[in-house]
Symmetry: C2
Subunit: 259 residues, 2 copies
C-alpha cells in the first residue's frame, strides 16, 4: 500500500526478507527498495536499522508515513451472522476494544498473517470475517463490512524508499545520520545535540542501537529537518564527524506527509 | 542464572509473562521480580520498557549483567558421533561460526526453547546435542562436551530486580528515569542532557520508545551514574522535571558488575 501511494505504476518484486531488499539495491539488481523503519505504537524496526548501518551504496530517497487501517472483511454482508474473527495477533490486539464494545460474543482467532486470515474467510463463508486492509479486500474479493475499526487512530507506520542516488533539495527535507563515540559518552551526545540546538535545527527522531560489542556501547540514529546541501547542515555534519567515531549519512529526502 | 548470582537462597516463582511479574510486585504478592531489560547484541527489551513506564509502586533495586554463555550438551561424551544440534534459533544464530568452522557437516535444528532442545537430546541419544547454559546441563543430567561456544564473547544480558522500596546509596550507584516533552523537541533533549553534562554526570544508557500517540512523539529513558539522594542528582532531576511533561524516576540502585 505504501508503494501504491508513492508510485502506482512501478513493477513490484516480492522478496523473502528485509536483508534481501537491501542486497538487491546494493548489487544494482533493483532500482529502489521499500522498508518499514518505525511504527508509532511498536517503535523502531530494529532489524532494518541494523541492516542500514552496514550498507555501502544505499541512500534514503523518500519516506512514506501510512496510517494503519483495519477493516472487517467477509464473503457475506450481514455482521449479525459473524461468529469468528480471524487475523494476525497484532491486528487482533489493535482492534480488541472495538470487538469488546460492539461484538462481545464473537470469537477472535489468531492466524499467521492477515493474508492467511482472508484465505480462510473466503473458504469458510459468512460466519467468518478477517481483519485486514482495503487492498486485501480487493485482492481476495471480500466485502468490507466495517471500516477503520482500529482502536488507536494514530497508529502509523513509516517506510523508507532506498536507492543509490542522492536526492536534490526540495526546500522541505529531512536528513538521516548515524554515529558512535570513541568512548562512553560523558557529554558526547550532548556535544552532538548542541550542534543542532545552536543552529535551531529540529530533530524528528533519535534512537540508539547496541554497537554489538559490549553493554553500554551504542550507535545513535538521528533524523533532522534540513538537507545535506544546506550550508548550516554542512557545518553541523562537519563538526559532528569530528567528535564521533563511526559517522554515516543515510541521505537527505523530502519530508513525508501522512497519507 | 541471574537470580542465582544475586540471591542463591530465595524461593523462585515461575510466571508466564513479563507483565505478570510486574503485576505480582505491584499487588504485593511477591517481594521482588527479575526482568531482562537489554542485551548487548539484540538491544532493548521493549516490552519490559513499555511495562515499566506504567508501574505505580515498583522501584528498580538492582541490576545484574550476565554474559551469554552457550555450551554443547549431550548424553554421550564423543563429539565425533554428533549429527544433529538442537536449540532456540537465537542460540543457533549465536554459535553459527563455531559450527561452520569446527563441525561443518553437522545439521542445526531449531527448537522452541533451549529447554525443549535438552529434553529431545535426553531422549534421542548420543547423535544429538543441545546448545544451552550450564544450569540446563545440570538440570537435565547432560554432559558438557564443549564450553563457551558462542561466536561473540561480549554478548551480555542486563537484568533488573524490581521491588517496592528505594535502595540506600552505596557510593557506586546508578539511577534510571524516563520523561517526555510537551511538544516536539527543538532543543528539549539537548536541554535535558545539558543538566547532566554541566555537572559532569555520565549517562550509561539513552533509549527512546514511541509515546504511542503519533509518529515523532517519544518517551526517553536515561540511566546515569549517581543516586537520587546525591545533592547534584537532586538538582538535575528538579530541573529536568521542569522542562519535561511526563517525568518518572524508576529508582537508584547499586551499579552491577559483569558476573
Amino acid at each position: 500500500m505504501a508503494v501504491i501511494q508513492y508510485a502506482p505504476d512501478v513493477e513490484l518484486i516480492p522478496t523473502k526478507s528485509m536483508r534481501k531488499i537491501i542486497t538487491l539495491v546494493e548489487e544494482e539488481k533493483i532500482e529502489q527498495g521499500i522498508l518499514p523503519i518505525e511504527n508509532s505504537t511498536e517503535g523502531a524496526v530494529t532489524e532494518v536499522m541494523d541492516l542500514l548501518i552496514k550498507t555501502k551504496k544505499s541512500k534514503i530517497q523518500r519516506e512514506i508515513i501510512l496510517p494503519v487501517r483495519h477493516n472487517l472483511l467477509s464473503t457475506g454482508d450481514d455482521i449479525s451472522k459473524l461468529k469468528y474473527i480471524l487475523s494476525h495477533p497484532q491486528a487482533l490486539e489493535q482492534t480488541r476494544e472495538y470487538f469488546i464494545k460492539n461484538y462481545p460474543g464473537i470469537e477472535l482467532i489468531p492466524t499467521e498473517s492477515t493474508s492467511r486470515a482472508c484465505e480462510i474467510v473466503k473458504q469458510k463463508g459468512e460466519e467468518y470475517a478477517a481483519i485486514a486492509n482495503e487492498w486485501a479486500a480487493k485482492n481476495n474479493g471480500l466485502k468490507i463490512l466495517d471500516k477503520n475499526i482500529q482502536d488507536n487512530f494514530y497508529n502509523q507506520t513509516r517506510f523508507l524508499i532506498i536507492g543509490r542516488n542522492h536526492e536534490k533539495p526540495t526546500g522541505k527535507d529531512k536528513t538521516s545520520i548515524a554515529f558512535s563515540f570513541h568512548n562512553d559518552f560523558p557529554g558526547s551526545l550532548y556535544m552532538v545535540l548542541k550542534e543542532f540546538a545552536e543552529r535551531e535545527v529540529n530533530l524528528t527522531r533519535i534512537e540508539s542501537r547496541p554497537a554489538k560489542s559490549e553493554m553500554g556501547k551504542y550507535i545513535f540514529y538521528i533524523d533532522f529537518i534540513g538537507h545535506i546541501e544546506d550550508n548550516h547542515v554542512k557545518e553541523i555534519l562537519e563538526n559532528v564527524e569530528k567528535i564521533t567515531n563511526r559517522f554515516k549519512i543515510f541521505g537527505s529526502y523530502p519530508m513525508g506527509k501522512i497519507e
